[in-house]
């Protein structure tokens, strides 16, 4: 049974072909690492899954249902969430406003005037979610732009987890974090898996990818070059697929050090 299926997705930006017919799938509760060199098309592929980019050809299926034509909001409603590398936070708004952006609960004021955003409820639930993922913020009411990188990351993660996601895509979630915080993210991925939530992890840190994933998909020049079961592969094999054979030994040695 598959949760997400990507079939023959192509994408070009003007004259630049980024994806040439990508096929891959993710099962429920499966953690899949997506690796590849810079420019291999990882982020573009993920953005066609969330709907930020429209695929030129091919189809994206969730639970066997074709979601290719849906906009990003509709896909979020179906449980596809992404934590972007740039975090995509609104820096002047507070944590709850960011976490609930696009999904604010409303109530009637004095039981009369409709459409009032229920800020008290947003703050309460945002606080609970942040506590659940073990985040420590200086204040729920300060603009998130004033937070540290790790704290902002927590807000972005909380946003992806608050609405019962089925698939969470993480684009370089550990790139800007301190060592202790990286462990926190890896633990979080394991917890999501235990809850049956599927994760796609994009990362350059192959040690992290090998540590938490079930499968590793290598993207090379806009195509799937390899689809490896993590338990039966090695750093050397992954690196060989990423760089495509040449200078393999040297690159692998370099990676195992880092």
């Amino acid at each position: 049974m598959t949760l997400l299926e990507v079939r023959g997705v192509t994408k070009r930006f003007g004259p630049v072909d980024v994806l040439h017919g990508v096929d891959f799938s993710v099962g429920p509760g499966e953690v899949v690492g997506l690796v590849g060199d810079n420019g291999a098309g990882k982020s573009t592929l993920m953005k066609t899954i969330t709907g930020i980019h429209a695929a030129d050809a091919g189809a994206i299926l969730l639970d066997g249902r074709d979601i290719t034509a849906l906009d990003p909001g509709a896909r979020r409603d179906l449980g596809v969430e992404m934590i972007y590398q740039d975090l995509s936070l609104a820096g002047q708004q507070d944590a709850a406003s960011n976490i609930f952006l696009g999904r604010e609960p409303v109530k009637r004021l004095f039981g009369l005037i409709p459409g009032f955003v229920d800020k008290a409820r947003m703050d309460r639930e945002a606080g609970a979610m942040l506590a659940r993922i073990g985040a420590r913020l200086p204040s729920l009411h300060r603009p998130v732009g004033s937070f540290s990188g790790g704290q902002q990351q927590s807000v972005a993660i909380a946003r992806a987890l608050t609405f019962n996601p089925r698939l969470v895509i993480m684009d370089e979630p550990t790139a800007a974090l301190a060592v202790r915080e990286v462990q926190g993210v890896l633990d979080l991925i394991r917890r999501l898996k235990a809850e049956g939530i599927a994760v796609i992890l994009i990362s350059h840190r192959l040690n992290d990818v090998l540590a938490v994933t079930d499968r590793i998909v290598v993207l090379r020049h806009g195509r799937v070059d390899a689809d490896l079961v993590t338990a039966r592969t090695s750093m050397t094999e992954v690196v060989r697929h990423i760089v495509g054979g040449a200078d393999m030994a040297e690159a692998a040695a370099h990676e195992s050090k880092g």
Partner: protein, 331 residues
Amino acid sequence: MARFALASIDHGWTVAQRVALERAHVRLESLVVLLLLGGVMAFLSPFFLSVGNLLNILLATATIGILAIGATFVISGGGLDLSLGSVMGLAGVAGAWTCVTLGLPAPMGVAACLGAGMAAGWINGQLVTRAGVPAFIVTLGMLGLARGLALVISDGRVIYGLPSGLVWLGQGRPFGVPTPVFIFIFAALIAHYALAYTRFGRHTLALGDSEGAARAAGLRVERHRRALYVIAGLTAGLAGMVFMARVNSGDPTAGMSYELTAITAAIIGGTNLFGGRGSVLGAMIGALIMGVLQNGLNLMAVQSYYQQMAIGAVLILAVFIDQRQARGARA
């Protein structure tokens, strides 16, 4: 001792600031400036604090205040509308032309004012989101287009002879208060509710803050932007109607350079010029500051040429202070 007192004043200030910002969405500094300005004016002119003069200030502030609502929505949403004043002029001419030249009844005149404003806003929004022309250029072009169209429709002349129902909207005095003041306050309350408390308003601020964040959250960014320009056009139409009714004529030169004052009022009221932050209540205080300034300069018989200069200087000063504070907050 003195030091301690100073520290506690400072502490009290930040607490008051936070409460003011979070609960009422008003910049405390702007309220202080308004009160100080009022105090100085009251000291300089014995007429300033008379009920008649205060109502005059509110009446004069009504058009600018309504325009400032539109400026607040567009700017806090990350856009800009330089055509507000011209569209206001076009709306007044459209209303007067409908009633006087076409001989249609007053409600049609109201519809023509609001319709002309919304149409101009709609065109602005389409051009910004679909043609990809920067808002600065689109609305600068509309500034010329709307003004020119107003002159074409009216043949460059003021259109007199509005029906009495229309005139009441500008000159009526229910309960002794000018009708425009009621319209202004009513519009401001609705707009404040919409920007500060509804999902639409929160999405506006988020969009102005970071388009990427808005997109990632699944907001329909282009559609929202278009709505903001239509809202700005609607406020220009309403301001045009109020002004036309007050001066009892459709003047093709009405609202000339009013966008300058409206944008200044919005910025003084705490709207971030680059989007992401804004408050209608704040903009109303900004509009009152501009109104008091103009009124006071009038009472002191200062030439109106200097008033233009004062408004321009206040705009630059307000943005300067805002940017300094923003830098301070980041550091």
